[in-house]
Every structure is written in structure tokens, then in C-alpha cells.
Symmetry: D2
Subunit: 281 residues, 4 copies
């Protein structure tokens, strides 16, 4: 059988840029990491080393920095759409552009009870993400959140699961539920106020996680997705990747002590992992 090139793509990852936007009397500060992936007619590069259709990844990197100057003034979703369109329309050999944007979030340092105009503190590990797909069919915008580390100390149980030979887990109606959530959702439109939709989706996920009476992480993830879809008709579907960050009840009985859901071992591995997409019929 003859050998041939199958699916392929290439681009520059981890193009880490920051921007100061000077407003009247105060600065905004933004820090974003961009991953670019181009698919298209690259067979000659693979088969014969002919790079005449290759936009060097170094050039892609330069393009991000240069275009950020004029075109990144609002959301990463908008800049991602612009960037994807730029690469697509300037490279006829390219049939699809994927742009992953990850924004590192900062808050203003508070001095004398007021937010400082140009001093910032990291908002933590949580990131705002955008994933843009541009091809001949058009452009699709996904927004998301990564590394959203949340937990609740009650209103969470896990019971009535399968009991079989290798089952040792005890049923419980009281446990810590913790996850480092990755969520991403798809908008129907590319012409909306991305920032307010993102803020609302985030708020709805947090509120649902907090107030939901959880019988399993599966039920919680569905409830979170359902709440977002019910609230925001611009969102077509939402996907979650949820590791279960286990806090395991520590055995104090062996020392003659009670442990009424007080003391836990926080473990990283192994960990449960749930993925689910919630969508519309």
C-alpha cells in the first residue's frame, strides 16, 4: 500500500504577549498566551521539503505582536477572530485556522480602599480562554474558563453506585466536592458582547456549583451546563472537563479519635475525571 500524508497542521504555540492600554488617568494591563494552528495545502513541505507555502512560525509570532497593537483593545474573543481572519485571508494555501487564546487575569491592587490606576496583582490560576475556528464555512467562537478551582464542604454525597468484587469505597451523603474545572462553550454568533456573556456564564457556573445539592460530580456538571444554557440563548453548547480533586477522610479512629468530616487528606493522584457536553436538542 502506498504511503501518504494524512491530517496535519502546524503553527506557533505559547506566543506570550502583554499589553498596556493607556486610558485617561489609568492603565489596563492584559497578558495573553496565543497558540496558532494552520491546516491547508502543505503536502509539498512534507514530501519534498519545499517551504514555498509555509508561513514560518516565527512570522506567525511576529504577526501576533504586531496585530495586538491596533487590534487588541477589548476581548480575547474579538482579537482571536481578527487574528484567525488575518491568517486565513492572507494565506490562500490555508484552509483552516485554529487560534487558542489564554488570558492571565489581573486585579488592581487596592491602596487606601481604592483600586490603583497602574498596579496589579494576579487573580490566580484561573484563566479566561477563547478558541477560534476559521475555515471556508465561516468562523466559530468558543469561550471558556480554565483552572477554575472550586469546592464545597457539604451538600455533596455519592451513594448507590455499583457494588462488586473490587468495590471498597463507602457510600456517603457528606463529602468535600472539589474540582479544577475546564469549561468551554460555543456561541451561535460572532457578533455579541463576548465579555458580558463570559462574565454571566462564569457567574452562573459558580452559583450552580455552590447551591446545587450534589449526588455525584456527574449530576453537578450537568446542572452547571444546563443552568448556563437556560440563562444564555446565545450559547449553543457547553463542554466540561472536571478532575475530581479528592479530599479523603483521614482515619482518626485508629488513634481513638472521631473524625466527623473534619480532617482530610488532599490528594492529587489518582483522580476521577469527568467530561461532558451539555447541548440543545
Amino acid at each position: 500500500m502506498k504511503i501518504k500524508l494524512g491530517k496535519n497542521a502546524y503553527g506557533k504555540n505559547a506566543v506570550n504577549f502583554s499589553k498596556i492600554i493607556r486610558r485617561d488617568g489609568y492603565h489596563e494591563f492584559r497578558q495573553v498566551s496565543v497558540d496558532i494552528s494552520l491546516a491547508g495545502d502543505f503536502e509539498s513541505a512534507h514530501l519534498s521539503g519545499d517551504n514555498s507555502k509555509i508561513l514560518a512560525t516565527d512570522t506567525q509570532k511576529n504577526t501576533v505582536f504586531a496585530l495586538a497593537k491596533e487590534n487588541f483593545n477589548a476581548s480575547i474573543e474579538e482579537f482571536g477572530v481578527y487574528l484567525a481572519g488575518y491568517f486565513f485571508s492572507n494565506n490562500e494555501q490555508v484552509t483552516a485556522v485554529n487560534i487558542q487564546m489564554t488570558e492571565h487575569l489581573y486585579s488592581r491592587i487596592v491602596t487606601n480602599t481604592s483600586p490603583h490606576p497602574h498596579a496589579f496583582i494576579s487573580s490566580g490560576g484561573e484563566k479566561h480562554t477563547a478558541f477560534i475556528v476559521k475555515n471556508t464555512a465561516g468562523v466559530i467562537v468558543n469561550a471558556g474558563i480554565n483552572d477554575l478551582l472550586i469546592l464545597k464542604t457539604t451538600d455533596s454525597g455519592f451513594a448507590n453506585f455499583i457494588k462488586e468484587r473490587f468495590t471498597t469505597l463507602h457510600e456517603t451523603n457528606e463529602r468535600i466536592l472539589a474540582t479544577q474545572c475546564k469549561a468551554s462553550w460555543t456561541y451561535y454568533s460572532t457578533d455579541i458582547d463576548f465579555t458580558s456573556h463570559y462574565i454571566n456564564a462564569r457567574r452562573m457556573m459558580l452559583e450552580t456549583f455552590a447551591t446545587h445539592k450534589s449526588l455525584s460530580l456527574q449530576q453537578t456538571v450537568y446542572a452547571m451546563g444546563e443552568a448556563v444554557l437556560q440563562m444564555d440563548q446565545e450559547i449553543k453548547e457547553i463542554s466540561f472537563k472536571m478532575p475530581n480533586k479528592h479530599h479523603i477522610l483521614f482515619n482518626l479512629e485508629q488513634f481513638g479519635m472521631e473524625n466527623n468530616n473534619e480532617i482530610f487528606m488532599a490528594t492529587d493522584e489518582p483522580y476521577g475525571y469527568i467530561t461532558a457536553t451539555i447541548e440543545r436538542e
Copy 2:
């Protein structure tokens, strides 16, 4: 529009086990990390918190340890097939089982010029991987290598690429080509000597990387895949994920010194990233 559950799966990740296999006069030591993912009829868990079809991820973890005792004596591919089959046949609500296995590799410590019977040293970051997909259509075995960090100091160039407004990269016919390669390939059969096929595929990739005159990382990755497919008719296709670990020529001219491809800055980010599947027609 009504809201519904879309694609979903769950399982235990990072089930890290080690095994001593006692042979006559010497020990083997194996260390493996297992990720399990089950898809199936889990709607009741998501929608109503009914866990009666849920095999707890803790039980999945226990199963790996228990089955490793009797059933892990050879390759991770074989054990993965066994594990996937076990979960599939014992859980009728499950329609697909994905098992990712990552083996951490050890060599024997050498004492007095001979390999020691029970003392080991890590072989490094490179891992042997296996990915098993089991569903009603059967079982598919993918083997692979992860974190294979290789480089060559000559026989690599990059020229004749697109020159446009944001291009600043210089053409070169002499550069360091370095990558931390992730490769995985699919076998036609599940009844072969996985270990020898793995060793041969790895050898062929290394030899091709070493001896290939590279005009681009794209050309090199294709050559590596083609060589593997030409050598081993049991392999259906092979996929690569190759970050370009850039070693950038440092500007010594600014200090009145020459830099004849001698001194480089080793950088992690940003980095080029190429993905490609090489397959048979």
C-alpha cells in the same frame, strides 16, 4: 430548545502502580500510570443523580491494582487490552472503554560491568505509551512514545519560506533541529509481539531522524513516519506531535565576535508545533 446531555465519559486517571516481577535470579521492575475512561449509558447519573450504573472511579483504581497481579507480565499493550476487555465485559452499561497507559522506563544499574539483578536507574523522561480503544466494533491498539527528546546539530535547514510584511527570520541551511516528540501508531492486529514492534518502530524513528537531511521539521516528521510504515506492515498509521525546541543563534557579532553556529540560546516558549498523521492509501 430543550437541553440534553451530549457526549460524555468518566474514569480514574493517574492510577500509578509499580510491579516487581520475580524471575529466576533477578527482578524485573515496571512502573505504569493508567488513565481509564468509560463511555456508555450514564444519563440517569447526570440528570437525576442515580448512580446505579456508575462503576466508581475508586473501584476502577482497585481493579487496575488487582488485575495487574495476574495479568501484567509482559507489555502494557497486552495489559491494556486485558483491562479494557475486563471493564467492557463486566459492565453492560458501558459502550466504550479507553485506556491510556504510560510506562516509566528503567534500566539496570551496572556494577562491575554487569547489569545488577535488582537495582535500577530511570531511563529518563521518555515513556512508552499504549492507548486501547474497546467498543462493540472490537478493540484497537495504539502504541507510542512520549517525551522523546532528540536533536541534531547539522543536516538541518529552513529556507524558501514565505517572505511577507512580518517576516524577520533569516533563511539558513545549518541549524539545530530539536524536538520533544510524541508519536503513536495503530496496529492492524491485537495479536502480535507488541514489544518487538515497539522497539523496531522506535529504532526506525531515531535512525531516520539522525540520518535524514532535513529541509524542515515537516519534511523530517513525514520521513520518520514513512520509514516506520515501510518497515512494519503491521502498522496502519502513525501520528506525531512535535514541538520545535528552538536553539536560537545568539548574536555575538554585537560584541565583535563571530558565531559560526556555535553558541545558541535554548528557549522553551514560544515554540513551533507540528502535528501530522502518515497513513496508507
Copy 3:
């Protein structure tokens, strides 16, 4: 020359526990990682494998979990003092106990504008630390902050530095100053309200960083330390470890564009690194 045992210590690291403290109508959640290090008369263990004076590190781990139940209700500083005293007074072969505590911080999720009684979100990478040294001379408490990622977009320059053969850096009176600060300070007393002192020291560091006109990171670090010492007479000295998280002005002139301190490359490596202790005469 005869060979002998020099300085040595041992203990359990990364004892990761979490605790739910049930208050009237709401929960507190705390997550702490503890490193224990014991020094003392362990020569027989090293020289002859006699473990009769060895408190197993597994036992040390159990002790943390058990003692956390009754004795961890307020600050990590207080619990650290308790733990150190416990190990010291129960092990006569031990001459010094070092306890490093790292608290992962959580905030309450806000629902309907009020903080939720039992749902939490990570406050980010910043951690509160405590380092306790207990020996025959007494006990010393150091408090601190780790991974405090802060930056300012103006009021920072770097000029008038040495110019020599290998100098290529341009002077500037306008740059981004960013650091992932590690600070720790020593209290004179072990009988103070550690939490309020910690909060005040943190606030003073942030305010000084924000409002200081920086001529160098060295000057800023000194100003931060001086401000803390001036404010809090209970603090004997303060030490900083400050990596300089460089945001490097990107060259847009090469594309015929201006870059008025707008667009930067955010880099991790290499990085400047400053350490300094500010103390009292």
C-alpha cells in the same frame, strides 16, 4: 582522615491536609501542606542502621492529621508552634524541629451578592506560609507569603547602570516591573495575633509596591521591607526573594510601527533574581 556524619536531618514533606471547621451557620475551609524536618542524635541510624531513635516519617504524617483535629483552629503559625513543640517534647533525641507550613487560600463563592456559607473558590497561586524553628534555645516564628505575583505598568525605570563590553540593555525610565515575590519575616514574639500581623504586612507590601517610584527592583524591595518594619514593631527582619518577571518591549519598528510601551513579550527565562534581608540595627 576518618569519615564521619556531618549535619543531617529528616522528616516528612508535603503532608497535605484539609480541614472543615464548622461554625454556626457556615463552614470554614483550610488547606495546608506541612514539611517537617527533625535534627538530633541520629548517628546510630546512619552508621549501623539502628532505627531505635527514628520517629518514622509515616508517624510524623499521622501526627499532623491527628493533631490538626484539636489544635488547628486559627493560624498556621499557631498550629506550627504547637506541632514543633509536640515533636520536640516527645522525642528527647531531637534537638531541633523545623516546620514549614504552606496554606492554600480560598475565598467564598458569592451568590446573590452574599458570600456562600460552604462553597469556595481558590484565591490563586499566592500562599500564606509559616516557618517554625524549635530548639533548646526556644521557638522562632517566621511568617510569609509565597508566589505573590504583582506588577506595575509605570513608575518604574532602570538607568545609570554599568556600561561595559557586553552591555546591550537600553536605559529606560518607563518599563513594566513584575515579580513573583516570596517574602518571610521573623517575629520577636510567639504570642501575638499572627493573622492580623500577616494581613497588615501583606497590605503594606502591596501598597508600597504600588505607590513606590522605582529606580530598580533593588530599590523597590528595600522600600517594601522598610515599610513593613516601620509599621510593625513586632517584626524583627524581613527577607525577600524576587524573580524579575521580564516583559520585554517588542520591536515593532522593524515593521514600521511605533511601540510606545504598549506591546511586550512576557518571558519566563532567563530572569533576574534579587534576594535581600531588611533588618533593624
Copy 4:
């Protein structure tokens, strides 16, 4: 009490360079990460922002790249001594230079049973290190190894330790002993063949680890240090930092299965941690 500057230092970290050394018919490839730390008369920088005595960390970085061209042709120890001397003698305000060098190790790819002249594969996580201290008293060279991941599957026990209230660990005369060893040792002289001393010290540590009948990690670490000091009279003392990488016997009895030291859980945290210096009287 007046406030003053205490101990302080600064420099550039993670100066990551690589070098191709062109020999007759083959290439050598070296990759090194350098951390520089300068101490000296920097009070004016801290107190008044006067940078006139500050050698910019950017300049330090440039210096490493430039000096690597002519002066890095053999061991990192020798280049470290050269670098430290360069910074010391060219900066009269500097009273001490500390240089930490970490070499990433590569082996040649083997093709057709022979080592390839210019294609390399990473030797793994293990690194060769050198730490150079230069001050008015002279220069001291420490060599070392980092991330040496070794384990043995028998000839290791742990028994006769203290039994008390919180002890649950069982005594054993058969366990896996695993560690990710960091070792560093000090030479009396700066004028020796560093590479052969390093190779011999490494070999002696590995052989001792392999052949030693271990009653505890403490005993093993002492034995390793003693063996190195006995073999090499040029080494003044050796220090170890040894995390205990626990492989915990998994409870198969709960499933009616035996576990004759076959199946283990490999865990990262918590972990025992031993530090010891072995020296001469």
C-alpha cells in the same frame, strides 16, 4: 531602631545556552543552564536607586553567551570557575560570586550499531551540576548530580523504629527503596580533572546504592557518602538531599488475593526527605 540593609545578592538565573563543539568528523553538543548571583557593595542601589554599581542582569546573561564561545570546551566546573573569576575580577564592588551550573545530558543516537556523529537523544532527567563560590578567600568548586532517580526492589528494610501513639507503619525487611537523589560534593582543589572525578563519584554512588543491604535510607545515604570519600581523596565532603519515593504495598488481601511484594502504589506526596553531609574528621 534604625532599619538597614542586611544580606543581599542578585543576578541572572536560567541563562540557558547550548554549544556545538566541532571536532574532526563529529560534533559535541552541550546544553547548560547558568544561575549567577553577585554579592557586594549594593547599598546605594537599595537605598537610593543609584545603579552605578549594578552590573545589569541582562549584561550578565550576555557575558555567559560570549564567554561560552572561547572558554567552554570541557567541564562545567572549569567554565564555572572561569565565569566566576571573570565577574569577580571585572567588578570591584563585587565581594562574592556564586555560579550554579546545570548541564542537561545527551547521548548519541545509535544507528547501525555505531554512535552517530551529530544526532543526540536526551539522557533523561539526571543532570550534572557545578556550584562555584568565588570570593576574596579564593574559589571553591562543588560538583554534583541532580534528579538521579534510582531504586532497588530488595535488600531494603525498615524496622525497629519508635512505636508510639500515632505509629501505624508496619516493620518490613523487604520493601522498594527509591529516591530522586541530589548530591553535591566539594573538592579540595580547583586544578583536577573534574570530569573523571565526577564520573567516578557517580559510579561509586550507584554501585553502593545497588549493593548495599539497606536497613534505612539514612544508612544507605551514609554508605554512599562514605564510599565516595573513601575512593576519592580529592573530595572533602559530600551532601545529599534524598526524597523517599514511596512505593506502597497495595492491599490485595481485601480482595482475597495475596500480595507477596508484587504490586505497589507509586506515590509522590507525602514523601520522606533526608538530608545529610558526610565529611572528614
